[in-house]
Structures are given as C-alpha cells and as structure tokens.
Symmetry: none
Subunit: 221 residues, 2 copies
DNA sequence: ATTCCTCTTACGGAAAACCGTAACTCTATT
DNA sequence: AATAGAGTTACGGTTTTCCGTAAGAGGAAT
C-alpha cells in the first residue's frame, strides 16, 4: 500500500473527505494543497529530498483567485507531473464526466486512475487505490465506456451531418424529410432517433442540446 | 498617410495581395513576415532603431509548423504589440467573423480596425487604412453589428447562466430546481421558458439546440 | 431455401419542450 | 389608497424528443 500521498483539491471539504478516507486506509503521510503550483512544488521538493510521493490525487478544476498560478488546471498539473515524474502514480478525482477528457488524460498523460466525484466517489477512489497498488489502472463506472472499443472512432459523415443539422435548428422530423428528399439513408425519424441515441451514449450527453454542445466543443461541427 | 507598414500573414498569396494594395496606396516601406514572432521582433527592432512602424496589418490564424513560436496566434501577437507599443496602429485582417472575438480585440486589445477577408476584403482594408489615418477606427460590414446591435447588450448574467446550464445538459425542469435551491430568481419553469423564448427570438433560433449552438459560436458560453 | 444477423422502419407511451393565456406579486406613482 | 406596469408564476394544450419494443428488408453463409 502507499505510504506517502498528496491531495490536490481546492475545495476544503472534499479535500478533508479524501484525507479521512486515506487515513482509514492506513496511509501514514498525507499532504494536502489547494493550488496546482503548490502541488508541483511539493512533489518536486519531495523528489529532491529523496522522499518522493507514491501517489497524487488531483482534482481537475481549480477556482482562480488572487494567487497567480503557473498551472491553472488539474490537467496542466497532471501533464507536468507525469512528464517530469513518470513513475509517480496519479489519480484524477473530478466531477467532470466528458469521455473525451478522460481519454486524453489516459492516452496523452498516462494517468493511472480516473474517479468521478459522485455519490460513490470515495468508494470508487478507494477501489482505484487498491487497483493501482496492484499495478492496474482504474476507471469510474460513470465513464467506463470512455474506451469501450465500439465508440472509439465510429463517428461517420452521417453522424456529423446529423449533428450539424441539429445545430442548425432543424427538428428530427425536418431532418428526416430532408434526408428523404436528398436520398440520404437512413431517413426515417426512427432511425434518426436511434442514431442520436447512440451518439448521446457515446458522448455521455443527457439530451440533444448537451450533445450538440459537446461536439461543438470538440470541434466536430 | 502611413509610410512604414508591416504585414503579418502566413499565406503567401494574401500577403502579396495586401502588399500590392499598399503599394498602390503609395506606402513607401512595406515589410512582410509569415510568423508572429518575426512580426514582434521586426516591430521591436524598428522601435529601437527609432524608425518605428506606423501600422501593422495582421492575420489572426497562423498555421503551425516546425518553427516553434512564442506567439502562436494573431490574437497573442496583437495583444503583445498593443501592450508594448500602444501608439502603434493595428489592423486585424482575418476570415474570422465571430462577433465575440471582434469585440474582445477592440475592447481588450484596443485594435484600430477589424477587416474581414471576403470578396471586398481588400477594398475594406483600404477603407480601414484611410479611416485610421484620420484617427478613426474601422469595422468590416460583415461584423458591423458586433457593437451596434442592441440585442446583444441586453443579455445579462442570468441569460448566460441559463444558456450555460442548458449546454451542460440540464433540462429546464432541472434548471428550475437548481435555481430554487440556490435562490436565483426567477426560478419557475414558466419564467425559464419565457426567458428562453425571448433569447430564441433575439438570436433567430428555431429551438433550444439551435440557440445553444449559436451562442456557443458567438463565444457567449 | 433457411437461418442468422444487421440495418431500417414503424408504433406507442412517457417526458420534455414549446406556446398562449391568465393570475399573482411587487414597486412606483399619483 | 388606488392604479398601472413589469416581472414572476401557474396551467393547459400541442408538438417534439426520448425510449422501448417489434416488425420488415436485405445480405451472407452454410
């Protein structure tokens, strides 16, 4: 089990909650910071002192305040940490459930676990820790389909067209009529509903508005 | 009229076109760069040599390539230039027509003109130059409503919050419940419907999806 | 030809969004 | 105190979206 852990989390209450959990798990040294820069400095110093951290648990979003930060987000912090200390284990603990963000963190920045803050957040966090201790990675159930093979790159031109038309204000009915006129298949309302449902699941969107907002952020349309 | 002008534009053909126009306008010294950093260095050097530029015409987007740049966008370049050389006149010449971007350039970075690359791009550019020479600012007709439009100024924080929550996938019902909990008024479903209806009319949106897509494009959320 | 599989379409019910109308609250003004 | 006006809320009806189920259409493979 891990002996020395750092928590980076700006919300004091959550920070404390995680601290309690880690204490219960028997971690002997637990340090806490509320700013990304402090996190980096602590890890850096610990490394120089030859007493490196075993694990960092970091949030993604940190409220900005008067203190100017070099690393303005958990993402930036994690990137830097994993770059400079590849052996350091990192758990991202965040409310964020956008699959693309999760994918990026794993693929680009090689994090070891992603845990969603939710009703079972702490439980999953403790699961994550034991998995990592065994050399495994961990993914919260809320975002478990971030890698489920099927959805990876299976967004085709039809999907894009659908999303584009939605974003232009057409109703599903109107899109159906349009596709019938232009001989685009499938054109039935039912198929369009089905496809949009698939996309909603893929992108973890609650509804069509959310879906369009997400794919616009991703630059897909 | 201006005597010494710098063109910052990565596309060679456009760069050349602007050069030709300026020559026709009787500008005696016209320099061209294809990288933001080169632009900054040239302006800096000219200033140190006591032969400063009168005007910079800059694009917004520069393709990234092997040359690592300190200033990776026209926006960053303009910001730096206006900060260090407030007297230097700056025209932004770009295809970008997002109103929010235009507003930011004028309000935050104090540019002197914004010209859209379009059919009449060069004509507007020459108009802009003569306006600036008279001490005026200039705004391309394509984006002329970035400031004039009354409708955009009537959007308050509540509207933004509403749109933001919508884009995050909350239903109108959920937003109502949220506002009740957080004592944000108005919180009733009816009022939320009404406000969204007003926004749909203002932005010429067919439905909520369309509305969110539009305000995202405008950079409002 | 039959089976199996996948894609498309159809349908029906529940939920949410859309839209008009009317009532209620609060404030300012006389 | 009375009234007008703007903002908020309530409510009913229609349309659209959401979601599950099931039937039809077409292809591939024995």
């Amino acid at each position: 089990m891990f002996k020395k852990i750092l928590i980076a989390e700006d919300m004091e209450d959550i920070n404390k909650g995680v601290h309690t959990l880690l204490t219960e798990l028997g971690v002997s040294q637990i340090d806490q910071v509320q700013y990304c820069d402090d996190a980096y400095l602590k890890v850096k110093k610990a490394d120089l002192d030859k007493e490196p951290y075993d694990l960092v648990v970091s949030d993604l979003s940190f409220k900005v305040d008067h203190r100017l930060q070099t690393y303005t987000s958990g993402q930036a912090l994690v990137e830097k940490l994993k770059e400079e200390f590849p052996n350091l284990k990192v758990i991202v603990y965040s409310v964020e459930d956008r699959l693309q963000a999760v994918r990026t963190l794993f693929n680009q920045h090689n994090i070891d676990a992603y845990v969603c803050k939710s009703r079972n957040g702490l439980k999953n966090l403790s699961l994550a820790i034991s998995e990592i201790a065994k050399g495994e990675t961990f993914l919260s159930p809320e975002v478990s389909n971030a890698f489920s093979s099927a959805n990876e790159l299976e967004i085709d031109d039809y999907d894009i067209s659908l999303l584009d038309n939605l974003s232009k204000g057409l109703s599903q009915d109107e899109i159906s009529a349009l596709y019938r006129k232009e001989n685009i298949s499938p054109a039935s309302l039912s198929s369009i509903e089905k496809r949009l449902n698939k996309l909603r699941i893929q992108f973890n969107a609650n509804n069509a508005i959310h879906l369009v907002a997400i794919v616009k952020d991703l630059g897909l349309i």
